[in-house]
Symmetry: C2
Subunit: 443 residues, 2 copies
């Protein structure tokens, strides 16, 4: 039945992770002499830069995700396995996944990162992060339920708490979430309630460092803060969160009461370093050679958020899609070269710029020394994101949804799904029972 | 803060359920002297006739659902409460919902129906039904995971079992599900696997009665069966299911092995009869007066799937959207008339026809004595469904997704979401643990 006939001489490449890095490597190996196996714990590739739009009810999960099998359908030498990897047997060159052992000659680890709570893992129950589709639909439910609960809450202090939203972390995700929640409350929901006024919701963005968007030029940080403020977001920089619980956050001596706290501060790489028993940095990223191979294992590579790669000036490469994509492409090229007995110069990242959007029609863009902000930057941001979305259908759907949202201020995907009986209690105390309620729903 | 000022003299109408019946009643009371409260356990109105398209990955949940608050936004005398109703205090005219008591002068019960297992409630774990968005995304996950599991399953018998799909019930839902699963397997997934051939999947539609689509003319039943067979569906009529377990179903002496069984046979009305302590039929529907009021309670009405209403010829009105909509409109009109000291003639249903679709481009349509089948019937079916979809955005999105699916055979929403660690075991034995795994995901 299989049309991938593995000849004895064919070299087997296993790629763990179908994110930007893993897919880019798989594409790079298309029509090569390698037999490629792509393993992911989900059956879809996720366009993570737009995840915050699912969390704030602007897009559906299927708008920003496509089945991995479809994406690599035409790569006839690539097989896909849906499985969760639990380890790597380095001595025998095998990947361990759900009781199976998958042998490899070359291995590419592109398993990404999860959010990290700086040693406060107990905060996770109160301040969910945003890395997966399930994270996004969970956050969407939390945010929408907070307004529903406020509508019927007799106690004024609790109503206030329900309508306060704290976002921890002033990077791109935090800035985009804060802008999107503010617009949701102040525009999309404004006319839909009879008791509460959603426009009175407070959105507070807390950043420990001295400015928002540290990866951008300082002038754009200022522009972003000003744009957020004009949307009604309260921006607090130089403010470290010292405590998170079910009733809010503490920032030094100050207490901010809030039932919804979103975590957008700091990530931790997946378990690749532990699997390999190799050196990592403090965030768990594997420290790799300049050809992205793992020290002592010339046939094992780590790319994307899993890898620690420094530039010539000593800066760490950021955890963004272009880095992962370029690295995946590089490793594919390197493997092809090796097959021909050749080698390649070290990996070098080409920075084509950074973008972040603030609300419905503003963005900041930085391409080298070129800087841009405001509406035109937003148009550029939109075009770039739609262009890089995988699959024509998704591009078309997202473009139309955005146009619709832009013109009408509506959010079409305001669905509270996957909720069992304990619906309301979930917002009041997410720790009740198992922390997360037993749900059936899905995207 | 509230802009609904309840004057002492204003009559309070409570509507339970924001389905076709409840919304139609709320719209009918728009701009009236009544203070209307609409209660639903979900924050969205669901266009149930297209639910099978979510279960088979053709549409996203948000394509067929819209927030209740948005739908009634312009009905300034209508408030919405998100809550699960647990009972009715008939003596005090109060609805009980999550610890609250909501008083009413008039009450409209439009709480719909759930699937029923004819006294075999233990079958529910093995043969999920299709009534809610969470049902649909759960089924979508089950169906997609069956193929994923088959791809890596070494045992041939188990692989066969994973690729058999049984649909129990040959009404519109069963016929539509069978056609959609067959097209999913034989077209959309066909080229995406390397080990299994999804086209070899068996889809078996089992109906206890003598023909499919009993609500239609017999000639259309034959046409539907023939269309399904041309898609590769095995149609078994006069076949009663006697057993359902994790490995398949028994039909009389015959055993059909299958890991995925879909329940589309028989419904049971919600608990309204029990709440009221009034007479119901065997399916739990409240037997109402000819003005749809509950015997002994002229101010309490039951409509839609909750009500048992017979036509002049003695036939029971079917559980379809047009019946619920006409009944909601009728009760609203009746309440308005009563306010003016008038009354109305008994409710009478106008049958504008029935439609069912088979796969991507065939349907059967019956309007009175007029019958139609094939591609033109499918076009009519599509136009009618898009026309009745609530909200312009949904209409546009659904039309485009259908066009896209039609042209490419692709299913854009093939996402397996809301899955925790026990992903694969779920298919093998849905009863493991709590029956349904603890999930976080949502639509």
């Amino acid at each position: 039945m299989s049309d991938v006939e593995l000849s004895k001489s064919q070299r087997r490449v296993v790629i763990i992770g179908a994110g930007f890095g893993g897919l880019s490597a798989a594409w790079g190996l298309r029509d090569s002499a390698f037999a490629v196996t792509l393993i992911d714990q989900h059956n879809y590739h996720l366009f993570q830069p737009l995840l915050y739009q699912v969390a704030t009810a602007a897009l559906s999960p299927a708008d920003i995700a496509g089945p991995v099998r479809s994406v690599v359908r035409d790569c006839r030498n690539v097989s896909v396995i849906l499985a969760q990897v639990s380890g790597i047997d380095v001595a025998r060159n095998e990947v361990l996944a759900e009781g199976r052992r998958i042998p490899f000659d070359d291995l590419i680890i592109a398993t990404g990162a999860r959010h990290a709570y700086f040693g406060h893992d107990d905060w996770a129950a109160y301040a969910p992060g945003l890395k997966t589709i399930d994270d996004a639909t969970y956050l969407r439910r939390r945010i929408l339920l907070a307004f529903e609960k406020a509508e019927t809450e007799p106690d004024a202090a609790e109503r206030r708490r329900l309508m306060n939203f704290v976002i921890v972390g002033g990077g791109a995700t935090g800035v985009e979430m804060a802008g999107a929640i503010a617009e949701l409350a102040k525009r999309a929901l404004a006319a839909d309630f009879r008791v509460i006024d959603p426009r009175s919701a407070r959105v507070i963005l807390v950043e420990a460092g001295p400015r928002l968007l540290p990866a951008f030029d300082a002038s754009l940080s200022t522009a972003a803060a000003r744009s957020l403020q004009s949307l009604g977001v309260e921006v607090r920089v130089g403010a470290s969160v010292t405590e998170v619980d079910s009733g809010g956050v503490s920032v030094g001596q100050e207490r901010i009461e809030a039932r919804t706290v979103v975590w957008a501060a700091g990530v931790m790489a997946s378990g690749a370093g532990r699997w390999l028993g190799t050196e990592t940095d403090r965030a768990g990223r594997v420290i790799v050679n300049d050809d992205l191979s793992v020290p002592g294992h010339p046939n094992i590579f780590a790319i994307g958020d899993t890898a620690h790669v420094a530039t010539k000036t000593g800066d760490l490469l950021p955890g963004v899609a272009p880095v992962a994509k370029q690295q995946g492409k590089y490793v594919a090229k390197l493997l092809r070269a090796r097959l021909e007995g050749k080698t390649l110069p070290p990996f070098r990242y080409r920075d084509y710029g950074s973008l972040a959007t603030i609300g419905r029609k503003r963005a900041v863009v930085q391409i080298g020394h070129f800087k841009m902000k405001g509406f035109l930057a937003w148009v550029l941001w939109s075009v770039a994101h739609i262009y890089f979305l995988i699959g024509f259908r998704n591009r078309l759907a997202v473009a139309l949804h955005w146009l619709w949202n832009y013109v009408t201020f509506q959010r079409g995907t305001r669905l509270i799904t996957g909720v069992s009986g304990s619906r309301m209690e979930e917002v009041a105390d997410p720790r009740r029972g198992t922390g997360r309620p037993p749900l059936r729903g899905a995207a």
